[in-house]
């Protein structure tokens, strides 16, 4: 079984706006179930994803930072013990202009087969990406991503 997945979406916006939407709390809170990232955004800086309750959900480090083209993070889940035990995954965002849109390629690579984190995020990413697209193209995120899910 593969240890990575690739999700690609085309968003009618500019690379600069998409970049801001990927990192700034005022955007991510709207399309990423109220989560936000705490980070200095430079190579080597610690990275944390916080939930609406202020709890650290995921953490890692900025491995590459090249705005508005490429962002690579090491990423470990912090709130599901089995997922945390797997250690760090690697998440890469690539932004490329494509006509009047931007092609966003998200690659998430995992160290272990049958990763618990893989199972957790592989279903979540398409929804988050759809909501990000909706927010940038229509000004409103998808309803399903506006609140942290109750069962998580």
């Amino acid at each position: 079984m593969s240890r990575q997945f690739i999700h690609v979406t085309y968003i009618r916006t500019t690379p600069e706006k998409l970049w801001e939407a990927l990192i700034r709390p005022e955007f991510t809170r709207r399309y990423w179930v109220e989560s936000w990232q705490d980070c200095e955004w430079k190579v080597g800086a610690p990275w944390r994803m916080l939930g609406p309750d202020g709890e650290v959900k995921d953490a890692g480090e900025v491995l590459e930072y090249d705005p508005p083209r490429r962002l690579v993070l090491s990423w470990r889940n912090e709130f599901i013990p089995e997922a945390k035990a797997e250690g760090y995954s690697r998440c890469t965002y690539e932004l490329e202009p494509a006509g009047d849109a931007v092609k966003l390629t998200l690659t998430h690579e995992f160290q272990t087969e049958n990763s618990r984190l893989y199972q957790g995020v592989s279903g979540g990413w398409p929804l988050i990406l759809a909501s990000l697209k909706s927010l940038l193209e229509t000004g409103d995120a998808l309803e399903a991503t506006k609140r942290w899910p109750e069962n998580v």
Partner: protein, 107 residues
């Protein structure tokens, strides 16, 4: 690419089979995908190009190999268009039930 491209790409049994295979095991080479299929390598190449143009398949070079990945984003977009915000959980439950009832062997 448009939603038309996605539906056209999906309107073919062979292409759905290729997506099924990637769903079962993501990140395969052309050779992996051809294995055990009653389709020529050429036909598989052509179908993969159509799937990639519709953004249903994403590819990545790894060394000398080109790996193919199922990209679920356009299918999710279709679902978002017609599935309401409160229906998602009920539909997932129904779909789980159907899968359980219909499978002879279960995990």
């Amino acid at each position: 690419m448009s939603m038309d491209d996605v539906f056209k790409a999906l309107a073919d049994e062979s292409r759905r089979t290729l997506l099924d295979r990637l769903h079962a095991r993501n990140g395969q080479t052309l050779g992996d995908l051809c294995e055990g299929l009653a389709m020529s390598r050429q036909a598989v190449t052509k179908h993969l190009a159509i799937l990639e143009a519709a953004n249903l398949v994403a590819t990545r070079r790894q060394g000398r190999e080109k790996l193919h990945f199922l990209n679920p984003v356009p299918i999710n977009d279709i679902a978002e268009r017609w599935i309401g915000k409160f229906e998602r959980d009920r539909l997932a439950a129904l779909s789980d039930l159907k899968r359980q009832l219909e499978s002879d062997d279960h995990e």
